[in-house]
Symmetry: C2
Subunit: 554 residues, 2 copies
Amino acid sequence: MSNTYPSAPSAYSFPLLIKQLLNRAKTVSLDQEIVYADKQRFTYNDLFNRINRLANVLDSLNLASGDVIAVMDWDSHRYLESYFAIPMSQYILQTVNIRLSPEKVLYTINHAKPKVLLLNSEFAPLVKDYQFENSSIEHIIWLDDNGVTSEGIFGSNQSRVTGEYEALLEAANDNFNFPDFDENTIATTFYTSGTTGDPKGVFFSHRQLVLHTLAEAASLGMLPNKQGVSYGDVYMPMTPMFHVHAWGFPFTATMTGLKQVYPGRYAPDSLLNLIINEKVSITHCVPTILQMLLKEAQDRNANFNGLKMIIGGSRLTEGLAKAALTQGIEVYTGYGMSETAPLISLTDFSLNEPELSEEEDIARRCMTGKPVLMVDAQVWDEHNHPVGTGKDNTGELVLRAPWLTQSYLKNEDAGAELWEHGYMHTQDIAYMRRDGTIKITDRLKDVIKSGGEWISSLEIETILSLHPAVADVAVIGIPDKQWGERPLALIVLKPNCQNTSSDDIKALAEQAASKGMIPKYGVPSQFKFVEELPKTSVGKHDKKVMREIYANQT
Amino acid sequence: MSNTYPSAPSAYSFPLLIKQLLNRAKTVSLDQEIVYADKQRFTYNDLFNRINRLANVLDSLNLASGDVIAVMDWDSHRYLESYFAIPMSQYILQTVNIRLSPEKVLYTINHAKPKVLLLNSEFAPLVKDYQFENSSIEHIIWLDDNGVTSEGIFGSNQSRVTGEYEALLEAANDNFNFPDFDENTIATTFYTSGTTGDPKGVFFSHRQLVLHTLAEAASLGMLPNKQGVSYGDVYMPMTPMFHVHAWGFPFTATMTGLKQVYPGRYAPDSLLNLIINEKVSITHCVPTILQMLLKEAQDRNANFNGLKMIIGGSRLTEGLAKAALTQGIEVYTGYGMSETAPLISLTDFSLNEPELSEEEDIARRCMTGKPVLMVDAQVWDEHNHPVGTGKDNTGELVLRAPWLTQSYLKNEDAGAELWEHGYMHTQDIAYMRRDGTIKITDRLKDVIKSGGEWISSLEIETILSLHPAVADVAVIGIPDKQWGERPLALIVLKPNCQNTSSDDIKALAEQAASKGMIPKYGVPSQFKFVEELPKTSVGKHDKKVMREIYANQT
């Protein structure tokens, strides 16, 4: 404050720390429920005690402020507790994306250098060898729902294993006094796959996450009850907690004191059981999960009774939206990315809105939505100037918001590029309507999204190009009903190798997947031999043209 | 950010400035409406241009950052524009409470020392003399709806008059580039009456107001549509804009892009006309205004059709709540004070809540409500320790929130007292239920609230004690159906003056009011002669006992 307006000596300046998100719930929601699949059920009062216990367990490990603690788990109460206890203790939570190829999973761990790993026994084989090697990990906390012990996986090498999560919590004190510290302290980090091979780390401060939580609560709260969030809703994630804070919902739901359901590993039957039995009313997922759920419900002749569902990660298609609405799901679109914490835009609904035809209603649910509160979203031309509104004014969508990653971890060049000219570049091509609705039409970056996961086309191309018969290759994403997009490999064979079969080339990709270099879903679904590949004026592959040609042809 | 997590050079750190509240509306709400009584109607696009024009007008006055600009106006589009243009230009908005006694109005201006005064012609007589005297005011911007000119009031002394508001805006450029600056810059200041005679100044930074706005939007958004706020609602204030930012709603409504209606001077018929004609769906006021409205609607046989109304400033009584509900108003309680920006608690409603009886429903609407998001509300005993929950555990309600005044302006002692032991002291006595509901039962500070305005009992006592017949006097607030509370004077006459009439003593208070020393509503409604006044063990007046004895007796 300035000289004329000094603060009182004891005035509390209220740093925006994650612990402050609990203030209301600690007063109002003590008896509210947290459910973990069909395994556990406790109250917010228990949750607060368990967060304290976990903090005491971590405290006993003699870590330093700023140390990274990684979690590899399905969506669980343990993950929820980690979302709070780890950053509130001034450590950094790394949410490990266990869907990446094993090689990449280890890359992200090697890069972020966690001192502690909370490890679900189901993922232990993945890091089994790693834990013996030149690893930053000093402590492993064992998470298990299946009776698998660390001895069962690691054998006699238990030196780094601190103990089993529930046993450690049980033995810990349930009091902990979380200190105040600088709100710009980093709270979370995780990785996103870009066009280049190596995943890039993003990171978020306490202040950013508190502001994201408040703006998410306000933006979803402002939607009418039929689509938005209100006190009394029941929340369950179906976008994993290792994916951009599960859209920030675990923070938002805890702040507002909602009943929360964590489903463990996603399986259509158990997800549907939880939705029905626990009366889940608000969730979010990628289109692929929605499709699986719709099928499961059809098989069981079940209806979703107005379940609110935000689709993000891949485009919601009109056909899928219609099917979901028919089966009783209030489905609509949210847009964001790893770099944006993630919430940027939501489909707009309002009280007393003019009636829309079914077609219009479905169309707006499948658009990218309107920017949420506080977000400054602009569409820029190639000279970094904002363009006008309307279909004819496409450009790159660029952003300012209080919760955007301020760079990439240990990658200053990529960070500088991300923030060129003071706005964050999404690399998505879009236009904006006069009413603020954004429509993404294409993307600048050369990646494919399958089942909500990024695939780097460059990486697949590099592998396929190693085949002796391949003269030129381009991998593009083409629309796929089940996965959103699937990779299509366009291949120009060398003149003397015209008899090569696509299976022969596919085998190379499969080999790379089996070695953990690329994820299994990175193996192209289709291979097409062509005479030549479309090129831009400067001789680069013109993927925009390729996507136009092949989108509906295959 | 720390060394390991540096920001990119061009990364935007997003200071929490009031201008950022406009981001979404600038993209999404350009065609939304702003209405000023029956006088003016324009769009948000116009609003943004008018804010720019006002900023250019202010810019031409050669002020310095941090200079104070005072506004004396009824609720108008001009006030709304001032809420944004003044702080966004790095000046401090002083919202002058024109309901205080003339002496106190001038005191607050003398104390805050504004360089510019936006002055509605209706209040010009109040400051007529002041503008000639030893005043900080260098520029007066004339606001008028009635064809009254500054010449008409100030005569030839026009040296300080910059011009008429609309004419100045009309002549100004509609482009303005609001700069970034420190989010802890003070944005607003205004005055509250305390127990001592002089009003105390509170002040709020950009950061605090942005956080208040976000938390208010989230907290009201989380309420079901029937009570809370959603996109599509139409907002009109009925708590004046000079009173604690009109509950913060002008900021919240603008951020969310709601249609807004500003009613000018409050008169029951025009308020009701606007509610009906403009389809107002959410508002807030003191019980006195609600009573006037109910009567007006009864006389006209009108129904409020579910108008959502938050009552604050004085206690909502069960009888009034019932009457309002019967006439179609969704009435409930909000709690806050000048020191708290103001929102602290709201009545709780949720989807799928268990059905309540009418009596239970009315009772909860009249409680103080549950803390809103981010608020840390505690009840402390006299040793500054939190007490348990339940009726038997009363104590002082103390607060932490991101938007509490950090001191009193130029009054460090009072500021230190306000923040003793690191929590803000409300001086309200309360208990808290297990479910977080607060119930205020009494107050520590010796003030009376009549029609939403504070009356200092000490001040009235001082005046009455000047009467030669008065040996001892205490003024307490007693419940009043129309005004919430009204002052009752308890008087001990000197033994030799037992024949003095109450009219004789009342005349003294009326004289003080006519001189502008106390407001007209400060004159006690009732006078009661007593043998002696209840005292505490240390010989002080025991007002708690007096209130208990006389609350229902008179």
